[in-house]
Amino acid sequence: MLTMDNIGKVFRTDLIETHALRGFNLNVQQGEFVAVTGPSGSGKTTFLNIAGLLENATSGKYYLDGEEISMLTDRERSLLRNEKIGFIFQGYNLLPDLNLFDNVDVPLRYRGFKAAERKRRIEEALEQVGLSARMKHLPSQLSGGQQQRVAIARALAGSPRFLLADEPTGNLDSLMARQVMELLETINQNGTTIIMVTHDAEQAARAARNIHIVDGQVCDLALLNQPRPSQISPIRSAAEA
């Protein structure tokens, strides 16, 4: 469902050119749980930005669900992001002025769902991460782990095809990190593809597939495990049932 073909990304300033990615190839199947590791500055974040349609590649082709996206307008890419991709950030990136309900509501608003549909999805998503009792709380009233769970609920509420997680446990202590990882695994088992950038080898090991990026290239594609077969009931169908 996600194919990167010879992707390159160059950052230019007046003085230097930096090749964040070069000749980057990757193919991710529906239902995979992929962990992306690599040293600082290797290009992990750039990969994530391109995969999540946050940035455009300088060269190469990127197919999402068979659609080549470099020709898409910003608006089309925004809509695609909204519909197909869920984001989980290291810093949670919850909107501090909005309560949990409204935070989860943000992508649904952009999607244009009716109020009743939004309400149902929000409550379900918060239910799934175990925070439905705290809907009216502000992010600042929650612990880090709870905030990250809200962020996951926000990512899930729109029933995306895949989740992009950027160091999702980077700001969390080990107990909370484990809870978040277990949540992600559950989600993956329900059929959602997950790509997770991490520097934690232990967490990477829990993923079905590991990708190591060094100097902007996929260095070692060690397929330690075979990709899991797709589960039949992804979260969306579960939600619609």
Binding site: N82, G91, D97, L98, D166
Partner: protein, 400 residues
């Protein structure tokens, strides 16, 4: 599609910045609605019709050195000399010039012994030519004949007939025609032989500025005003000729204040013009300051919320949605500001009404001003909002 409620709840939580814009807009609205209203009132005042053919009139003052002799022959000769200047249609000596803020007025009443209706009337004195010189029109009755004119060498004027303005007639005889009626000036009966359409007194800022009369009396006072009606293209040449022509006949006098009527009008309404200009400047500067304020605070808010905006973009907001977010947010703040400002505007208007001569602020001014301010807010926020829409969604994954 429009996320009003979340924007509102976010606004309610971020305390000071929107509050300050609201306060600023409220004050601005209070000031500009009233200032614009005052400007409009002044413009109305200074555009009122004086009733005379202004574009064809010039006036000046003659002060004779000899204050005691019989000046009547000299005055008649002066009128003759003026009429001989090429381009002059008519010339008359009189006691006062419309809008000049200097002249004679007296209380006139509809019944003797100060009974009945009364009004303070500015009265013009002159011979039968004055009516034509001023170029006013009659709505009823007739103008003076040469036989109506008398000469009175003192200020104790006792005319038998008068032309009064429609304004005067309406006050003295609200329910019937004033034509042929007697009116009383210092208890002396005067017959109304004609009613003039419009003739303003010398005092444009008096309440009864349009209460005026012409009486058929010539006064050989040592100081006389002359009104001269000229063909439009002869204005400059006549203005230049007046002094030489009259002094050539008799140099023992002072001729001063030779000016076209347009200048008399400018002088009469100078304060109103100045007030209108000053308040307009205040309005423009105030709008500029307010717009700068909104631009400044919105820019700050955008740079402060870069990460949030990036996150929204990452979650699928299009550029247009981000743009709209800021426009809606600004519209909400501005609406609150102008709502508060409406009360402020009415309050300030009440204060001005109590302390100064100002009328009640019409609701229309308030509506136009507040709509204008909301539009100004939208315009001001456009640039920062556009900048917000260009923030890259990739900023969401940046860790600092």
């Amino acid at each position: 599609m429009f996320e009003l409620r979340p924007i509102l709840s976010a606004l309610l939580r971020s305390k000071s910045a929107p509050l300050l814009i609201i306060a600023q807009l409220a004050l601005t609205l209070a000031v500009i609605a009233n200032a614009a209203f005052i400007v409009q009132e002044r413009l109305t005042t200074l555009n009122r019709d004086s009733g005379v053919t202004e574009s064809e009139l010039l006036s000046f003052t003659v002060i004779e050195m000899d204050t005691q002799g019989d000046l009547m022959p000299q005055r008649r000769r002066d009128e003759q000399l003026l009429r001989q200047i090429p381009g002059v249609i008519s010339a008359s000596a009189t006691n006062q010039i419309p809008l000049s803020n200097s002249g004679s007025s007296s209380t006139v009443s509809s019944l003797p012994d100060d009974q009945g209706n009364s009004v303070n009337v500015g009265y013009y004195m002159g011979n039968e030519s004055l009516f034509d010189t001023l170029g006013i029109s009659l709505v009823a009755g007739r103008a003076f004949n040469p036989t109506d004119i008398s000469v009175d060498s003192t200020m104790g004027t006792r005319p038998d007939q008068a032309l009064i303005s429609q304004y005067t007639a309406d006050i003295l005889f609200p329910d019937e025609s004033a034509l042929g009626k007697l009116v009383y000036m210092q208890n002396h009966p005067i017959e109304v032989i004609g009613i003039m359409d419009t003739l303003q007194s010398p005092w444009p800022h008096r309440q009864d500025s349009y209460a005026s009369a012409i009486i058929p009396v010539e006064t050989p006072m040592f100081i006389a005003r002359f009104m001269v009606r000229v063909e439009a293209d002869a204005m400059d040449s006549v203005l230049n000729a007046v002094s030489d022509v009259l002094l050539a006949d008799n140099p023992d006098r002072v001729i001063t204040g030779i000016r076209p009527f347009a200048e008399t009008r400018d002088r009469a309404y100078r304060n109103d013009t100045a007030m209108a200009v000053l308040l307009s400047v205040v309005i423009v500067l105030l709008l500029a300051v307010t717009a700068f304020g909104i631009v400044g605070l919105a820019s700050y808010s955008v740079s402060q919320r870069q990460k949030q905006i990036g996150t929204r973009r990452a979650l699928g907001a299009t550029r247009l949605m981000v743009l709209r977010h800021f426009l809606i947010e600004n519209a909400m703040i501005c609406s609150a500001g102008v709502l508060l400002g409406s009360f402020g505007a009415i309050g300030l208007n009440q204060f001005l009404m109590q302390n100064y001569e100002l009328s009640r602020l019409p609701l229309g001014y308030l509506l136009v001003s507040l709509t204008g301010l909301v539009l100004l807010g939208q315009l001001s926020v456009a640039a920062p909002a556009y900048r917000a829409s260009t923030i890259s969604p990739a900023i969401a994954t940046r860790s600092v």
